[in-house]
Symmetry: C2
Subunit: 315 residues, 2 copies
């Protein structure tokens, strides 16, 4: 597993833990980094000063190893956030939900490596033009906010591989070593894993949320809110309300009102399974019936499963 | 590539051409079988006596090699159809869109091998109980009629692999040898390829349909008609009308009226790109800008690409 992703980030395994809102604090990020992957802090749900504290703790915990921060580019106080990232010498930033043009050169100036998350090869080409160091191609099966194209990982990764020469990570539907190897066969050099790390011991998500997500069946998550920003959600009273509204032809404005503010925090962090927005990936159902594992166990298991899959293929 | 799928069907390569409505006549089916795969005739768009003729011609063309028929189980004159299949000694039947219980024993009695197409592992377990010989796990990215679960091939194949011990083919988003190998890594022993064969020279689809589908971009197909039977469609005036109606909250009844009868024939077979229902898979965009190939070239290319992907992995 020596490739451009390992070299770019100076990590042992090309396994990135997605920087997820209300999930990815310093505990999860540092645990993944210390296990040989790349842990990301999810800045999307943090006030700038909260991020500063998480970065400081993560840096201390990883003792010189590489960690990073995920920044959704529609973050309201993004200038303040980026100043903190630069001042704290964060080594890697993953950007998403916006144009890679705006911040890449600025981050590079500060010596920060930049990866950008895309849902189409057209966007990957823009990333290459913007000078990003690597892209994450994230398919329809991913949890939370999602592309409008609905292109699945099986179709997206080969398309992005053909469209750019950038180091490429796959995301969406990847929780096991077999899935990691399948993504590599499709042209990826590494993977970004969200759902499986969201349900680890070190994840900041509430126990109630983890328990719910570790007991989902196939077909239980749904991509909804397409008139606003397509979001994959686990079942619950709030999602039922969204689905009813959408079936009846609710407008974007009506959906925005129904969504209101702070629902992801309520659902994921506070464990309000009725009123919360429960963002999780389709692949959760493959973890059905398991208990939260440590992030280190997840990294080790993915690596071992991947090797078993390689051995099976060449036997 | 010696595995249970090859042995079950006595074929050289575990590559099945899906039996698609208005696409899969005897020409396509026999070309795939003669190239070492398994060609299926799509009975869903044929009157029983038309199927009899296609079976006779296919049998003659393949000179003893294995071919099959796909039967959607909601076919209106299914008893007549099945009697013809038995009388003509069709060696293999793929069933879909219905319960595998009803016909499996009857077909086995006549010496016919049975595979069933599923969109969930729960349904795969039912297939095993019904005694089918193999299952096809078909993901969200597939063209035409599709499961309600929206589970992608990346998530579905490992789930079905865990749920049953049956010989397993993957479908949905598989058009290249890399994608075939990725599906094998996920636990499949073979693949059912639809879109790529639908756009070959031997496909019965109209030139206009093939041209349209060979020029789609990512995100151009959409899964619509979810209140009736979820169907993945290429863009066109009819699809625009469906989308507008669905955005406005159209009921199943209103959608049924809008759909009317015979639109798949109009779109796929007759090439009416405005009023027709244009069923094709998401993976079409990977073929963008190419010309229709022969089915034999497709089989050979998938086999060669797969080998290159194996070599790259073990180098």
């Amino acid at each position: 597993m020596i490739n451009r992703i390992n070299e770019l980030f100076n990590i042992k395994y090309p396994i990135v833990a997605g920087g997820m809102v209300w999930v990815s604090g310093w505990r999860l990020a540092s645990a993944v980094t210390n296990a040989g992957g790349l842990g990301l802090i999810g800045a999307g749900s943090m006030h700038p000063e909260v991020l500063r504290e998480h970065v400081a703790r993560c840096r201390e915990a990883v003792e010189g190893k590489t960690y990073g921060v995920n920044v959704p580019l529609m973050y309201p106080e993004i200038d303040t956030l980026m100043d903190i990232i630069a001042a704290e010498h964060v080594p890697v930033v993953f950007t998403s939900a916006g144009s890679p043009k705006k911040w890449t050169a600025w981050l590079h100036d500060k010596g920060i490596k930049v990866a950008h998350v895309v849902s189409s090869s057209a966007f990957a080409v823009k990333c290459e033009a913007a000078g990003v160091d690597a892209v994450v191609a994230e398919g329809f099966e991913a949890g939370g906010h999602n592309g409008r194209e609905e292109t699945t990982t099986m179709c997206l990764v080969p398309a992005v591989r053909r469209a750019t020469s950038l180091p490429l990570m796959a995301a969406g539907g990847i929780a096991t070593g077999e899935q990691m190897l399948a993504a590599e066969v499709l042209g990826a050099e590494g993977v970004q894993v969200g759902t499986r790390f969201a349900l680890t011991v070190e994840s900041s998500a509430s126990e109630a949320f983890k328990r719910l997500c570790l007991n989902l069946g196939e077909g239980d998550t749904k991509l909804l809110l397409k008139k606003l920003s397509p979001t994959r959600l686990a079942p619950g009273a709030f999602r039922d309300a969204v689905e009813r509204a959408e079936n009846d032809g609710a407008t974007a404005e009506q959906l925005r009102e129904l969504l209101g503010k702070g629902r992801a925090k309520r659902g994921i962090f506070e464990g309000d399974l009725d009123e919360g927005e429960l963002e999780i990936g389709q692949v959760a159902s493959l973890l059905r019936g398991t208990e939260p594992q440590s992030a280190a166990d997840v990294v080790a298991q993915i690596v071992a499963e991947r090797q078993t899959a390689v051995d099976r293929l060449i036997k």
